[in-house]
């Protein structure tokens, strides 16, 4: 397998290891309004604050800082402690719409821990807003 120059070290005191550098989700063609207006009932989630995934990167759960209900194509009330969970392949098979470049931004977590001995390094992943269907969401203390 040819190398792709992904080996990095967090500092002088750690040996370089393979790290994700700039893995981005490319923008699609849908505007933000088109995505929201297509939803009869759903949740708009933003800004991850809790994350957990297994070592096969399969079963995951994420919590967000901020969420709003989508009702009849419009953003309405705030929701409390919005979380979602899923399994990687089925989750991405529920992808319905991908936002255009106007929704594209660098976000998520800006650092990532990995390796033995441990290394924390800055990472950046850009993504457009995406619309998924039939995702398990929960929160509000329940």
């Amino acid at each position: 397998m040819p190398g792709v120059s992904s080996q990095r070290a967090t500092s002088w005191n750690r040996a370089p290891i393979d790290r994700m550098a700039n893995v981005n989700l490319e923008p699609g063609t849908s505007t933000f309004d088109q995505m929201i207006s297509s939803v009869e009932r759903g949740v708009f989630m933003r800004t991850t604050r809790s994350w957990s995934i297994d070592d096969y990167r399969n079963k995951f759960q994420f919590g967000c800082e901020y969420g709003q209900l989508i009702e009849n194509g419009k953003l309405t009330k705030l929701v409390k402690n919005p979380n979602y969970r899923g399994i990687t392949a089925p989750f991405w098979n529920q992808l319905k719409m991908v936002g255009d470049r106007s929704t594209f931004e660098i976000g998520g977590l800006t650092n990532c821990g990995k390796g033995e001995p441990n290394q924390v390094i800055f990472v950046g992943h850009a993504s457009p807003t995406c619309l998924f269907s039939n995702i398990e969401v929960f929160g509000g203390g329940r």
């Binding site: 005191n13 750690r14 809790s50 957990s52 297994d54 402690n81 969970r85 033995e116 441990n118 924390v120």
Partner: protein, 443 residues
């Protein structure tokens, strides 16, 4: 490189303190290590890092203002020249800073010297023993060994020095199906027979992983969490669960316990207990924590970890916690469940050896999520039936150590800290296993 001596820090500090003027004060906090890191794959050396590093964090106060700067520290005369130059720079830039209303000024917290340098074979000898003992298994992991130093000295005269020499082998064994079990062998004294027994135990657990894995449907089950899994839970609890500052700011996860609205089981007691001897009692400021501080006693709130800064901000009493207000030496009291009774008492349910990637799913209700990992088994009629496919759980600490807690084991395991972000961690946990009813799996 010559090992750092406490006298080197004292000499450096004296030169720095001699530079102080008027209402200035200074606290120097040293972290250092001499470490051999060896990454292992297929029981062979994959990568070696030899590391000698030491840093001094300098907390400089002038009037009611404060700033910090960090210096590399070699223990030579050149350190002072660099330090004095940086101090002069700090004196200039501190003028531009606002006053700090919760300032913690240096005080005299005594003088202690604790050097736990039991005789260990050389790192090369210990590593050679690891390679010999593991030559017949597929072992991956890291072997780490050497000295660790933590020290603080301040211009009010206090000086604490802690130096320990230890090692750990943090490893996984793999079978042909790429299923793994995890093992940890660590300490301050070397025991080659202990290493053989440790790896043999892991081999036995790995042999059980050869059976076909059972898929467990989501739902609530009777579950035994081994001490290593309970230690993972403590790691999450340490992250905002027992911090007074977090609770005062509204982000703490045991608010209902703190306010007396909820209790945990009478069987559950948690304390910060430095008699474990794995972590210094002093914090970065040199303040000395109580040798034993009950946090939760028989299910009821007793104390949260409170730093002096939090105490200043919220007008509460400090118990000299670190600024992070995280657990440094937590101990959970044991119960009545013997090792021999574990499978019988599970009956039909799950045995979980390890948990992985925990995080809060709802801080307000103390709910935590994470994954099962490594040697986790389905138990039927008191016997191991099969390994399980990985499961995601989502459960509240109030259930784990409260409504769902059946019993704790009558033994507890010490899990030394193996973290090595930026530097090797000190400290560890001492936790029993727990038997829990209706433990919820969600995925």
């Amino acid at each position: 490189m010559q090992a750092l001596q406490s006298s080197a820090l004292e000499i450096f500090a004296k030169k720095m303190f001699n530079e102080l003027q008027g209402d200035e004060s200074l606290t120097l906090s040293l972290s250092g290590e001499d470490t051999l890191f060896t990454r292992l794959s297929q029981a062979k050396i994959r990568q070696v890092t030899t590391l000698h590093q030491a840093f001094v964090e300098c907390s400089f106060i002038k009037g009611n203002k404060t700033t910090t700067f960090t210096l590399p520290f070699r223990g030579t005369e050149e350190d002072a020249a660099v330090g004095i130059k940086k101090l002069k720079e700090a004196r200039a830039w501190i003028e531009k800073l606002p006053e700090d209303p919760y300032l913690v000024r240096p005080a005299y917290y005594g003088v202690t010297k604790d050097e736990n340098l039991d005789t260990l074979p050389s790192s090369e000898e210990m590593l050679s023993s690891v390679l010999d003992t593991a030559s017949h298994v597929d072992l991956a992991g890291v072997f780490s060994s050497g000295d660790i130093i933590r020290a603080t000295i301040n211009s009010a005269g206090q000086f604490h020095w802690f130096k320990t020499r230890n090692y750990y082998l943090d490893y996984s064994l793999y079978n042909e199906k790429q299923k793994a079990v995890k093992g940890l062998f660590a300490g301050n004294s070397w025991n080659a027979d202990g290493l053989k027994t440790n790896i043999k135990d892991s081999e036995y657990k790995l042999s059980l992983m050869n059976r076909d894995s059972k898929k467990i449907e989501r739902g609530a089950y009777r579950v035994f969490l081994a001490p290593s899994a309970v230690s993972e839970l403590l790691g999450t609890l340490s992250w905002g669960g027992v911090s007074m500052g977090e609770h005062k700011r509204g982000g703490g996860s045991l608010k209902d316990l703190w306010e007396g609205k909820k209790k945990m089981s009478e069987k559950f007691s948690l304390a910060e207990d430095f008699s474990l001897g794995m972590s210094p009692r002093f914090n970065d400021k040199g303040e000395v924590s109580p040798a034993h501080l009950p946090l939760i006693e028989k299910g009821e709130f007793r104390n949260f970890l409170t730093s002096t800064r939090t105490a200043n901000e919220f007008k509460v009493e400090s118990n000299n916690a670190s600024d992070w207000e995280s657990l440094r030496s937590p101990v959970i009291s044991t119960g009545n469940l013997s090792r021999e009774e574990i499978y019988k008492e599970i009956g039909t349910g799950l045995y979980l050896s390890d948990l992985h990637y925990l995080n809060w799913s709802d801080r307000e209700t103390a709910r935590v999520t994470g994954m099962t990992r490594y040697a986790c088994f389905w138990i039927e009629n008191g016997e191991i039936a099969s390994p399980i496919q990985d499961l995601r759980f989502d459960e509240s600490f109030y259930h784990l150590f409260g409504t769902g807690l059946v019993d704790l084991t009558n033994f507890a395991d010490i899990s030394p800290a193996t973290g090595s972000y930026f530097q090797r961690d000190v400290g560890g946990t001492k936790a029993p296993g727990i038997l829990v009813n209706d433990f919820k799996f969600t995925l």
